[in-house]
């Protein structure tokens, strides 16, 4: 779909992001949440919150590791 220059359906990027998040791959999750936010302006509030959440989790993780 991306190659075909068609708009990806609402929510698809975000669902994939959540699956990556649940699998523990927060970097990939973040990139898909960013894609969702850029493709659909309506999702901006939620996606920004999700990305900030991931950042905060990563921060606490690195702090705990130190």
């Amino acid at each position: 779909m991306e190659a075909g220059r068609q708009k990806v359906a609402p929510g698809l990027y975000a669902e994939l992001g959540t699956l990556y998040l649940q699998a523990g791959e927060s970097a990939k999750a973040k990139s898909y949440y960013t894609k969702e936010r850029d493709a659909w302006p309506e999702s901006r509030g939620l996606m920004t919150a999700m990305i900030e959440n991931i950042d905060r989790l990563d921060q606490t993780k690195t702090e705990a590791a130190q």
Binding site: P10, G11, A14, E42, G45, L46
Partner: protein, 211 residues
Amino acid sequence: MRVFFLALLVSLLTGCVVQPTKRDQSAFLATAPRSILVVPIVNKSLDVDAPNYVLTTLPVPITDKGYYVFPVNTTKYILEQEGYYESEKVHEQPASVLAKLFDADAVLYVTIHRWDAQYALITTTVTVEFEYKMVGRDGTEIWQERKKMQYQPQNNNSGHPLAVLIGALINAAMTRVAPNYMPLAKMANQQVFVLDVNSIPDGPYAAKPVK
């Protein structure tokens, strides 16, 4: 005399077609939502798997109507993170709270009333019934609908009566064992959101009619 009966017949036939009345949609148009949040579904049927099945059938027709639909599984996941594990609890929340949490314009609550297959020896009837309610972020109800769909497998082979009967028995038993709900659920959603007179108006992303 014959003409009279013919006229009577015609009037009876046309009288049978009940035109569903178009409801007032000014509340919906006033809210003019761009994004719709589909919250987890309340299940009043006996099938524990039904809500998740129905949840997967909802985004496509609403997206086709031109609205941004919040990712349903992500929504469910976030609500679980927030402590809402039961959809009944979510439905009790005022729409304004949910809409604010997700930054949505409207919230869609769906309840499953029926999701079953009734077995009557030579035929099985599969029934689904849903109730839809959409509430704007200011808390006003802007749209609602209730839809029931039924399916009965048809046995229209003409052969030996006993063969037909056995065929019907097998068919009914098969439908009973593995009822196929998904086409029914999809059809119900398609009718409610796209085809019916009282379906939701086109959203901001709706395809423009080709001239």
